[in-house]
């Protein structure tokens, strides 16, 4: 039974009792957290820019991320200039409508490529985290709820995956999948597909979500409300779905934002090593790789994707920390994925 005491009039005497749900409380804490709000709005701006990438390409820059402009001219300060000089040196940032951040070795618009590349990195990271959560939740529930042999088996599997570096596993899996693509039943993933990094990163990070979740399920299992649910004759699946899972949402939210940071960084490293997105398609990793090759003549090619990646990671990890402070103010969940990269 839940009773709500509402404030009757603004000048009521004493301490009016206001009962709020945990989510409302978290939201209130988040709204008072200035750092989280700043990082959150930065992230909002970035997401908007990434969503608007096709619009920017077609309406402002009038090009596509893969369109070469080897012999084109553009207007800078009222003068018509070749995009690539005679020695093949691309122009730097014009801060204008086209070639806002300059051009690359093939005369492609760097700003457009950057928007599309960041979009690819973020979507792949997001898809991978989604896949991880979808795989980790049932496994953690099964392990923590059934305990015994199921738990032993699943936990050993997590320990095993956990004991290998994510990047190495990712490179190997991705190489294996890239050789000829995969066909799993009706699902067919071609060898150049963007789904490969999603699957690879998603699989690699399953234990990073499942291990803390399992611990929480184990602790929740012993609580009285669980006993009450069992005693009232609910079936195990119903107990899990209706009684257990609602307690896990906040942990899942915090964990998956923290993991998204790592997933994006892993995608960048994979693409950099040639085991993720393949050129000419853009990802922050391939852009950094290409930028390194030509850094002496055109430093903007390296600087632009580096700054973009740092901004994305800064915004995301700032928001993730804010979410953690809001949802778990006393550190009771012990959720922390703070790891170096």
């Amino acid at each position: 039974m839940r009773t709500r005491f509402r404030r009757r009039s603004p000048d009521s005497v004493g301490h009016p009792l206001v009962s709020r749900g945990p989510w409302a409380l978290a939201l209130r804490r988040l709204r008072r957290d200035r750092a989280a709000l700043v990082f959150g709005s930065l992230l909002g701006l970035i997401v908007l820019a990434l969503l608007a990438a096709p619009l920017y390409a077609s309406q402002v820059a009038h090009t596509t991320p893969e369109e070469n402009h080897l012999t084109d001219r553009t207007v800078i300060d009222g003068r018509s200039t070749y995009v690539l000089s005679l020695e093949g040196k691309p122009i730097g940032p014009t801060w204008g409508r086209s070639y806002f951040l300059g051009a690359d070795e093939n005369g492609r618009d760097l700003m457009v490529r950057l928007l599309y590349g960041a979009r690819a990195s973020v979507t792949i990271g997001g898809g991978a985290v989604l896949l991880s959560v979808l795989l980790a939740l049932p496994l953690a529930l099964a392990a923590g709820f059934r305990r015994g042999r199921t738990d032993a088996l699943i936990s050993r599997l997590f320990d095993l995956l956990w004991s290998f570096p994510a990047l190495l596993l990712g490179v190997l899996l991705s190489t294996s999948l890239t050789l000829h693509g995969v066909e799993v039943g009706p699902l067919e993933i071609g060898s150049g597909s963007k789904l490969i990094p999603v699957v690879v990163i998603g699989l690699v990070y399953v234990p990073y979500i499942a291990r803390p979740l399992r611990g929480q399920v184990l602790a929740l299992r012993e609580q009285q409300f669980m006993e009450a649910a069992r005693a009232s004759g609910m079936r195990p699946t119903a107990v899990m779905a209706r009684e257990l899972v609602p307690h896990l949402w906040s942990t899942l939210l915090v964990l998956s934002t923290l993991l998204l940071v790592n997933a994006i960084a892993l995608e960048v490293a994979l693409s950099f090593l040639g085991a993720g997105i393949n050129p000419p398609e853009a990802s922050l990793g391939t852009l950094i790789d290409a930028g390194l090759d030509n850094v002496e003549r055109s430093p903007h090619l390296l600087l632009a994707p580096s700054v973009a990646l740092v901004l994305i990671i800064l915004a995301l990890s700032g928001l993730a920390e804010g979410l953690r402070r809001a949802l778990d103010p006393h550190g009771a969940l012990g959720v922390s994925l703070v790891r170096g990269r």
Binding site: R156, D159, L160, W162, S163, F164, P165, A166, L167, L168, L169, V171, L172, L173, T175, S176, L177, L179, H180, G181, V182, E183, A265, V268, A269, F272, L273, G274, A275, G285, I288, G291, L292, V295, E296, P299, L302, L303, S306, L309, V310, I313, L314, S317, G318, E321, G331, S336, V338, R339, G340, R341
Partner: protein
């Protein structure tokens, strides 16, 4: 303690074995990935080309016997590459000191910097030095080492000329040159970790500061310095040391890959990155297994060191 060491090493051996089975399975048995498809040519080859490949490399043998043969050759160091290659084992062993120098140096720098800054934070908790350092740590943590390495290589190595473009000099040959080759790679790999460790160590030390035994130590009249060193640090460093151990045993298959590629350090990361690009299956599996052995061994050593420091760990079941 001896029982713990034995158990931990046995667990490490088991993990390495499972890793070898997984690596074999990943490249030999997944449909469309197994070598006969791979060697058959475009579109998985024709039946004829696949039969020739099967005949030549003995791919028709039962999988367990193929596994035993491949693992034997990997451990002996005379793998038969599909496209031809040198003895990878010797190359790997030769490259190991480079990566070891990189990882150990970065590990030491990150942990020293992290603990030192965290101590300053704890001493001035809530005041401006604490805030400045935690903010700086967040910033450092937000610059992935791949970006830091790329920027340092592009704008410091090239511009200043004080650092070599690539290559490596062994420590035994010339310690100064060794450090000069490794300084920037160390900074690039250590800074993001140091940023993360400031947060981890600070949180852990702040927990320890409120423990009863710390209050007792203060009540006894110990100096703040002794309280921190003997009572706060000893207990507060146990959780961070575990994270550090995991991070740096993973480094061999983690940041070493791209940091070595960017700085042209001839270590196992560069070797792996080069080998992956060839799509030649036996050396890829071989490197995966060599790296697995190194990773598993390092994390076992770290766990044994932690157990030596903290008696409670010795009694618990070792995790892989």
């Amino acid at each position: 303690m001896i029982a713990f060491v034995v158990r931990r090493l046995a667990a490490a051996a088991a993990t390495a074995w499972v890793a070898s089975v997984l690596a074999f399975g990943m490249f030999w048995t997944v449909p469309n990935v197994d070598p006969s498809y791979f060697l058959g040519g475009a579109q998985h080859g024709t039946n004829v080309t696949r039969a020739i490949a099967n005949e030549k490399y003995g791919l028709d043998d039962p999988l367990p016997s193929q596994y035993v043969r491949l693992m034997g050759s990997i451990l002996r160091g005379d793998i038969e590459c599909f496209y031809g290659c040198a003895s990878l084992r010797d190359e790997f062993v030769g490259a190991l000191p480079v990566t070891l120098s990189l990882v150990a140096g970065a590990g030491l720098i990150s942990v020293a910097l992290g603990v030192w800054l965290a101590l300053i934070c704890v001493r001035h908790r809530g005041r401006w030095p604490d805030r400045v350092i935690t903010a700086a740590a967040t910033a450092a943590y937000s610059v992935p080492s791949i970006v830091l390495a790329a920027l340092l290589w592009a704008f410091v190595t090239h511009k200043s000329g004080a650092f070599p473009d690539d290559g490596y000099v062994p420590l035994t040959q010339n310690p100064f040159e060794w450090a000069r080759h490794l300084l920037l790679p160390w900074i690039a790999s250590a800074l993001p970790f140091a940023g993360a460790y400031v947060h981890v160590v600070r949180a852990s030390l702040l927990n320890a500061v409120h423990e009863d035994w710390v209050r007792t130590a203060r009540a006894k009249g110990l100096s703040e310095r002794k309280v921190i060193r003997r009572h706060v640090l000893r207990n507060g460093l146990i959780p961070p040391v575990n994270i550090w151990g995991l991070d740096f045993s993973h480094a061999f298959g983690g940041f070493a890959l791209y940091v070595e590629v960017i700085f042209g350090l001839p270590g196992v990361g560069l070797l792996t990155a080069g080998t992956i690009g060839t799509f030649d299956l036996p050396p890829i599996v071989a490197l995966a297994i060599y790296l697995a052995i190194v990773v598993v061994l390092t994390s076992a050593i770290v766990d044994i060191v932690v157990a030596a420091l903290d008696p409670r760990v010795r009694r618990s079941r070792p995790s892989t």
